[in-house]
Structures are given as structure tokens and as C-alpha cells.
Symmetry: C2
Subunit: 533 residues, 2 copies
């Protein structure tokens, strides 16, 4: 009888030989989760909020591997998640906002415009042209960025690839909206959803008829009516899914992408009472219970790897897709101050929106309990994961912007400390206006950070010059080494540094043909910072 | 670096050695699809309806392999589908009706009783006790039958197992409702759904907000808004899913379980006009277009196997889960006569409800263009598939009722021609009453068939004796060799044969502790046929 392997035409990777040399990789991604939302102190300093949550398993992972003090993501979910898959900066992908339903939009989604939900305009701007379809693994899909997904390459190199939880790379109605088209062999609960309709098994994770939304979590019917939180249900399914590749001796890639700690902020009753008893308000206690639920998940995964005897051959990367949410009353606490010492949160180009927890444990390579201060960003993960997997050569339709930080983890190399880290959000986030979130763009170079406030820039009719732009609040400069909270704008004091950074930002965005909002008054896109001079 | 395979404790099947000897298996299952709904003439006779549909690919498969003239299933979806997975007769599983939502029932489902939707009572009966939770792969789940799923065993023996389409083994809210818990490594669109809310990509396969149901087809968002019929979309996804195991040299099991030709009867516009042009009415043309869509799918799969060079090592089994629907106005034609020459259709224990198309192509084993007349039934597929896969030893928590028909396909052995084939439907199907569907039980032995009409049996107060029961229409006997349409009840003429068969039916149902309806007048379950004597 003909053997399958022999019957296939074309060259094959010699999997039987190489699989043994490939470590498993677990990418543990948390949603809307802030830099100070754990006991891990990423820059070595303990801030007040670090003592709020009990995260013993994150501490455990950090003690085994390396923490990053200056890890960045995009201000929102889809841009980060697509950039992780493409190795291309989100502004270069022209995916700068979150994707949602395409083709039609339920009337109860506020602010929906032309199927681009829920994005609205402002007094000054109409929305930019951008790839609101998100990422596509195939060419020719309108308003999408076409790229070869990182997971596809892992799969093609013998990895058994598993998706669990939130996907959110692309609008419903496009190929990229389902993990099955992104290189994942297994998909549990991943779709175009950006959040779960409900975290509760008792509520069928939202699969109830009262009010339809796309956000009901699919594929978990076996938990309907059960007393279980989604974080725990996803963890159980993830661990079940690992049995097969381990039994078969296949290297696996598990994308453990928790919906938590995204809204709806919901009490995980395993942990809520403890935080309430400590004096946190109801919202804070609910959020804390979601955080500890995620930490527990990480611990259960680590325990499972130990039990199966594969912990020594499994890379674990823990990261978050954007900063903690700071506009959410349901989360309790004080609005816009929930990521202190960092300014603002999700959606913003200030540090609270883009600086992320990142822990990497790479067995036999990372150094236990080490800290890395060189800045890294989400577009760097693609080449880094290739290094973890030992994949030296691969072909992509896109050209990668990111650089591998694997040498940093190993201590065998470095990246420039002054590599520009760009954040770009040329959108209005919600119906409610947030001046420190909407229409911002920023670049960090070394410890300096320049912020372009587009609404302030839009007021000029003509070229105002540097001083006028600074005076009007269009240009800001911060020195993060002495002002982590970005409270002291020193642009007027350091005009040369301001010019240097704004030029880097302008040149890069221009090279990328990055999206910019349309100015209603002129009908043109907003000038880049250097075009104001 | 430790190799996964070596790191796992416990015995492993030596996959690397055995995989090469294992053929791929494709189980192509069609829904609500009748015995005469193709050009294949299963018993060698061409009936009028055989010329109605163009099914060139079923003819192509039949010419390569063996057709069965006397293949049986249960009268409804879930009983057949669970029996296929367990090797146990559905009446022995006590799964005799279709499963649906558990835990809560939307108010717009008519006739819902205690979470058992949509089953009602009759004037004479209240519903029987049965496992309305369906099949469970784990013990301890209320109102389920616990068994080791066939697919789990294939998986544990190295098969890469893929589910595409309709699952419908278990109620939402139980572990068995998702293919992920049944041994499938990959799941595309399978859930507790018994039907799709929409077949149309343009309608997002039902994922639209106007009217919520469980039946929106999950996991296919990449086709939303597209001009594509679900049958074709599932086929495309199925073929994509085969690339991986073929590339990796893993034997695969593809459960290609089409939602078609189940309602909602929907025009597949690729084929509709042709049938309309031939003079079929609108409903008939729509149904015909769905049938040809399924046939096209089969052809595309066969073409794919040829292209990949694996056709000579891939078993294909084509089968349907119950008889064609005969109560559906949307299907056009004449109600209750849509499976002629067979009597009745889906739901019924008459031949139209339970006699099924079955084609088996087993490369290097089956004989091209052969026909097999020995009766086989859905509980026989489990041991048969083990033979296809060359799995000699396996452990199940259940004891199998079925027998392998692999020797019949090979011509190396047989099964008794007079093995009893039992059909059992102790339920009321719908709010509308169907006297030739509801509350029937039957056994075929050789060419004889006994039918127990429970409603007629319920009228007796005491033990009526054989003649009275026959006179009252409680007992019927047919000789299928001369009366395939079951129009001539010969029970009074052959009382000994009637007694012989009713005894076999009674003894078997008693041994199985099969579900029987509760008689309102007595408060007891309805007596078995021999208990009336």
C-alpha cells in the first residue's frame, strides 16, 4: 500500500529529523492587561499597583526566565495581534485600529461608519484610510494587509499549531478572521471576536438569545450552564489539546490567547472575595479576580508541562496586547490613573497604552531571573520566534520590520538601545472623546519620547514653525529616564531633540505610507510633524 | 535538548512504523438524504426518482467500489450519528430522538418539554425516558450514554482526525456536543447544531441578528457576505484541512458530514435552473440543487485525492443518516411519497425512513462495481472502520452490538442474511401528528419485516392476543422481497412468522432496556409486543 509520505510530490522538510531539535513554544497573551498589573516589577521598581494583585505564577515564570522593562505593543488589540503575525509594524500594515464586523453592522453598534465599526469622526477629522479588514493570508481581499502569517511558517516547519481564545486579526467576512486560515491546525474559540459576550459558563459564554452580538464565544458548548469562568475553560481545553502533539512527539506551538482581562469586567468568584476583603472596591476586586484567573492559568500550564516532562523543552512567552484599560468605570478605581506610574492606558500612545509586561523563558538559553532593558516591540516577535524554533530560512510575501530579540534573551547579542519605537493611533476610539488617547502618534528614541498631538496640529492653516507648534501643544517631548509618567513636556527646552525625533517619526511614517486622518477644513490628510515646519 | 517523544511516560503505539500501513478514511455522510435520491440504483432496479437527480460522482464512486442494497440507519439524525460513534444500537444507547439545546429552551421552540426540545406528548402517551443528552465521551453526565467514541480510537492509533460539518451527537451543554471531545483533532463547523440556520454565505450562514437560534453555523466567518453555498464552503475547508496530514505522512480520518440536504431547503444556484428547466416544481428543484451540490462535493474530494496521489490509499464511505424527509412542503413534490418505492421517510420505521444509500470504496480490497445484498446497519460501522484501519485491538467502555462488514466488502466473509435489523422510534416527532412516523418500532429478519404500531397497541386494556392485536393494527408484517413498499400487511396470513419476529423484537428491546412511551391511561410504559399476548 502506498505510503502517504511517498505519494506526495514536491520537496518536504525532513520533519522526522528536525522535530527533535525544535522546542515547543507557548505564547501566553493577555488582553488589555497593564504593565503594573502584577507582582512582577518589570523595571526593578515596585510601584503601588504591583502589590494589588497576587500573581505567584508570573513571579515563578519571571524567576525562571527574563523580564523586559521596555517591551512595547500597539495601543489596541488588532494592530498588535496582526503585527505579531507579520513582523511588520502596524502603521506599516496600515492596520491601526481594531477590526470588527464587515459587510453589515448591527444598528445597536454606536458610531458605525460604512461597515467600519465602531469608528466615528471628530469635529476636526474624518477617519483615515486604513486596512479596516485587518490581516489577510491571501491576496486580493479589499482593505486588508496581505502577509504570510508567522504561524503558517511554524506549521510548515513541522509545528503542531494550536489556537486557543481570542484571534481578532481581521474583520468577519475575510479569510483572516478564522485561525484555520492563519496556519493553525487546531482552533478553540477563536474568531473575529474582539471580546467575549460573557465570561460565564452559566451564561453559555454569551450564547443566549436575549441580545445577539458577534461576541458570543463559539466552540465551547460543553461548558454551557456550568459554573466555570472562561479563563479556566480555555485553559482546560488548551491542556487537552497538548496531549496529542506530546504523544506524537510533534513540536507544538500553543497560542494561549486569553480573552481576559478584557471587558466585560466580570467577577471570577474563585478570587473576588479575597480582594474585596482587602478593601478594593467592587470594580477593582472584579478586575483583580480576572487577573489572578489568568495567573492561575499560567500556573496550570506550567504544572502540566512539568507533569508531562516537557517543561525543559518548552519556551514560554508572556505578553499583553496593549495597555490596561483606563476609561472603564466597571474596572473601579480612578479613571485614567489605573496604570500609574504610566500615563493613560489602552488606546493611547502614552506609556500606559503601549508599555507591556513581557517575560521570556527559553530553556537552556535564557538566564534565570534576568532583566533586559533594551526596548523591543510587537513586530520583533516574528523573527524572535523563528530563532526559538531554529528556523533559519523562510519566505514571506512581506518584508519584516522587526528584529529578533532572541540574542538579548541568550545574552549573545543586542539591539540598538536607541532604535526608534513608534506608536501611531490616527483614530477616534469611541463616541466619548479622550484627548490623551485619540489622534496621537509618538516615537521613543533611547530615553526620549516625542508625541504628536494631531488635533492640536490640525488648528494651523499654513506652516507654524517649531515654536508655535510646541506652544499649541502639537509637539511634546518627554525624558522617560527621569519622567516615566510623561508629566513634564520639555519640547520647548530641547528643541533640537524635538526636531530630531519628529524627523524620525515623520520619515518613518512617510516611508510606510502610514494612515493619517483627513482634516475636514482642508479635505487633505493631516501633515506629518515635519511638514508643519 | 529533550525530544518530546522520549519525554512522555507510558506506552505509545509505534506510530512511525504503523502509519504507513494505515489507509486514509473519508466518511462522506449526507443528511436527510433518501435511498432513491441519486442515479445509483442500490438494489439494481431503476425507480422513477433515480432519474431525477444528476449524481455523476456517486456513480463514479459506485463504479470503483461496492454498493449496498440493504443498508440501514435509524429514523433520525442523532440516533444514527451516535450509533456510528459507539457501535451500539441506538435503542440500546437509549438515544432514540434528536438532541437539542439543554438547560434552557428559547420560547419560540414549539413543544419544548423540560429542556427536551422539541419533543411533545400525544393524547395517549407522555414521552419516554431516554438519554436526551445524547452521547458523552466522559462518565457522569446526566441523561447521556457514556461510550468511547470510535474517532478517539482512530486518533489514539495515529490517525489525524478531522471533523467538517454537522456533529449533532449531544445536547448543548454536554461534553459530547463538540467534536473536540470526541477524538477529533480538527473541528470545522461542528457543534450541537442539527441543521444550519442558513446555507448561504450571503447570509453569513445564519450569523445575523434578526432572529437568534443555535443553528447559525460557527467557524466559517471567512465566507460571510460571499456568494457561496455552505456545501461548497465546507468542501473547500475540508480539502484545505487535508494538506497537513498528507504533507506529514499521517493517515487521516475525514468525517465529511454535510449539513445538506437537511432543511432549510435552499436553492443552490449552481444547479437550480437546470432542474427547473426540466419541469420540476420550485421545491423539487431546490432540493435537487442541494443533492447535486453534495454530489459535486464528493467529486471535488475524489479529484483532490487523485491530484495528491493518495486516492489508492484512501477508503471512501458514502452514507446518509436517515431517510429523505417526506413531510416537508418546502421540498416540493407530493408529501409522504418522496421516497417511493419506499414507504414514508425520515422519522419513520418504514423503509423510507431507515433504508440508506451506502457505497464503500476500499482500495485493493473492494470489488469495482459490486453489489452487496446482506443487510447492514449503522452500529456496524465502528468495527468495520477498525478493520479498514487495521486496528486489531482496542478498548471501549461499551460493548459493541455491531459487526464488521469489511469481509463483505472484500468478499472474504459474510454476515447472516437473517440478522435482525431493528428500528425503534418511541416518540412523537413534531407538533403535527404523523401516524406512519410517530411511535413505531420494527424488526427486519431476512425479507420479513414486523412493525409495532404503539398507538394502536395502547388502546388495549389487558392482553388482547395475537389476532386482536393484528386486527387493531398494532402488529403488521410485510414481505419485503415482494412488497418493498410495505403496502400489504400479511400479519393475519402469517401468524407464526409474525409471532417469531415480534418475539425477536420484544426480547431484544427488553435486553437493551429500550425506552418506551408512558401510557397516560395506566401510568406505565407501553408493553412490548409479546407482553400484549
Amino acid at each position: 500500500m502506498k505510503r502517504n509520505l511517498l505519494a506526495v510530490s514536491g520537496a518536504l522538510v525532513p520533519l522526522a529529523l528536525s522535530a527533535a531539535d525544535r522546542p515547543n513554544i507557548i505564547f501566553f497573551l493577555i488582553d488589555d492587561y497593564g504593565w503594573v498589573d502584577s507582582q512582577v516589577c518589570y523595571d526593578g521598581n515596585e510601584y503601588p499597583f504591583n502589590t494589588r494583585f497576587d500573581t505567584p505564577n508570573m513571579l515563578r515564570l519571571a524567576s525562571k526566565g527574563a523580564v523586559f522593562s521596555n517591551a512595547y505593543a500597539c495601543p489596541l488589540s488588532t494592530p498588535t495581534r496582526t503585527s505579531l503575525m507579520t513582523g511588520v509594524h502596524a502603521a506599516h500594515e496600515r492596520i491601526t485600529n481594531h477590526t470588527d464586523v464587515l459587510g453589515w453592522v448591527p444598528s445597536d453598534i454606536i458610531g458605525a461608519v460604512d461597515g467600519v465599526a465602531p469608528e466615528g469622526d471628530s469635529d476636526l477629522f474624518t477617519r483615515p484610510d486604513w486596512n479596516y479588514g485587518g490581516l489577510s493570508p491571501v491576496p486580493g481581499v479589499e482593505n486588508t494587509f496581505h502577509a504570510t502569517p508567522m504561524v503558517q511558517i511554524l506549521r510548515d516547519n513541522g509545528y503542531y499549531t494550536i489556537h486557543v481564545g481570542k484571534a481578532h486579526w481581521a474583520g468577519a467576512g475575510t479569510p483572516g478572521s478564522t485561525p484555520n486560515n492563519m496556519g493553525f491546525l487546531r482552533n478553540i474559540a477563536g474568531s473575529s471576536n474582539g471580546q467575549p459576550r460573557s465570561y460565564l459558563g452559566e451564561e453559555n459564554f454569551g450564547n443566549t438569545p436575549e441580545k445577539w452580538t458577534y461576541n458570543s464565544v463559539m466552540d465551547m458548548p460543553q461548558y454551557y450552564g456550568k459554573d466555570i469562568f472562561l479563563t479556566e475553560a480555555l485553559t482546560q481545553e488548551a491542556l487537552k489539546s497538548l496531549d496529542y502533539p506530546i504523544e506524537q512527539g510533534l513540536p507544538f506551538y500553543l497560542y494561549m490567547s486569553h480573552y481576559a482581562t478584557h471587558g466585560p469586567i466580570t467577577k471570577d468568584k474563585r478570587f473576588y472575595d479575597k480582594y474585596k476583603g482587602r478593601g478594593l472596591d467592587n470594580g477593582q476586586s472584579k478586575y483583580a479576580s480576572m487577573v489572578e484567573g489568568v495567573d492561575r492559568s499560567l500556573g496550570e500550564i506550567m504544572d502540566y508541562l512539568d507533569e508531562k516532562g516537557v517543561a525543559d523543552n518548552t519556551v514560554i512567552v508572556m505578553y499583553a496586547d496593549n495597555g490596561g484599560k483606563c476609561d472603564n468605570l466597571a474596572k473601579g478605581g480612578e479613571l485614567h490613573r489605573q496604570n500609574l506610574p504610566l500615563r493613560e492606558g489602552k488606546g493611547s500612545c502614552y506609556e500606559g497604552g503601549v508599555r507591556e509586561p513581557l517575560i521570556v523563558f527559553w530553556p537552556s538559553h535564557s538566564k534565570a531571573g534576568s532583566r533586559i532593558d533594551i526596548p523591543v516591540s510587537c513586530e520583533d516577535f516574528f523573527p524572535t520566534f523563528m530563532d526559538f524554533a531554529g528556523i533559519g530560512e523562510y519566505t514571506t510575501v512581506q518584508t519584516l520590520d522587526g528584529k529578533s530579540f532572541a540574542p538579548l534573551v541568550e545574552g549573545t547579542g543586542t539591539l540598538p538601545a536607541d532604535r526608534p519605537i513608534i506608536s501611531h493611533y490616527p483614530h477616534r476610539w469611541k463616541l466619548e472623546r479622550f484627548s490623551d488617547i485619540d489622534y496621537l502618534s509618538a516615537v521613543r528614541v533611547g530615553n526620549w519620547k516625542f508625541v504628536y498631538r494631531m488635533e492640536n496640529a490640525a488648528q494651523f492653516n499654513g506652516r507654524p514653525g517649531l515654536k508655535a507648534a510646541i506652544d499649541a501643544g502639537a509637539f511634546e517631548l518627554y525624558n522617560l529616564s527621569e519622567d516615566l509618567s510623561e508629566t513634564r513636556n520639555v519640547a520647548a527646552r530641547y528643541p533640537k531633540k524635538t526636531l530630531e525625533l519628529l524627523k524620525i517619526l515623520s520619515d518613518t511614517l512617510r516611508t510606510w505610507d502610514a494612515s493619517m486622518p483627513h482634516v475636514k477644513a482642508t479635505g487633505k490628510t493631516l501633515p506629518l510633524p515635519d511638514e508643519l515646519l
